[in-house]
């Protein structure tokens, strides 16, 4: 079974803190993604990576950075947390879209609250 594991289910952080969200997948997927889910806005792509050390901005990268030093691990970094970054964060991984199996597998999410 494919497994995507996010390091925390719930996090509470203070404004201005640097926050690390970690994600690990065990399917040797090339692609990894970070989304945030907000009511009425669906899933919005923050960053994605298609290979080790490669990253591309998604639709809402401002205030975030990412790191992919190993194929199985993709980290999302909030450089200086703000209250508008309170959200559900979802990590996902997949094979490339041209592969026979293309669906993304998601972790269970991290509910981040910035106070």
């Amino acid at each position: 079974d494919v497994k995507v594991t996010q390091s925390s289910r719930y996090l509470v952080k203070r404004t201005g803190e640097k926050v690390f969200l970690e994600c690990v997948q065990d399917m040797d997927h090339e692609n990894m993604f970070w989304y945030r889910q907000d009511p009425g806005l669906g899933l919005r792509l923050i960053y994605f990576s298609y290979d080790v050390k490669m990253k591309e901005k998604g639709d809402i990268p401002e205030g975030y950075s990412v790191s992919r030093e190993k194929k199985e691990r993709f980290s999302l970094i909030l450089e200086s947390a703000s209250t508008n970054q309170t959200s559900m964060y979802l990590c996902a991984s997949s094979f490339p879209l041209r592969a026979p199996r293309t669906e993304a597998f998601f972790g269970q999410g991290t509910r981040l609250t910035v106070v």
Binding site: L41, P96, L97, E103, F106
Partner: protein, 113 residues
Amino acid sequence: DQQVKQNSPSLSVQEGRISILNCDYTNSMFDYFLWYKKYPAEGPTFLISISSIKDKNEDGRFTVFLNKSAKHLSLHIVPSQPGDSAVYFCAAGAAGGYQKVTFGTGTKLQVIP
């Protein structure tokens, strides 16, 4: 700019009837489409996909239809069951080397017993 749109935030259907969830897209580069289902406090799970070379794909009770000229796809669930109650997201991507997958805003389906 919302490139993938699900205009119905919610839908209620009687058990046993057909559920039809709709999705529109604007980016003509999209050539691969997926539907995901999400229960509360869980990550989305894949349901069904379709590539632009097809106009229909079926998997058990789930069928996805693609109308490329209208830039529209729909998910049909027949018959609907109470366990289908969830939020459904459509997603689109371009397989030609461009790996970004864009999701819609979701439709909350409630199947009434």
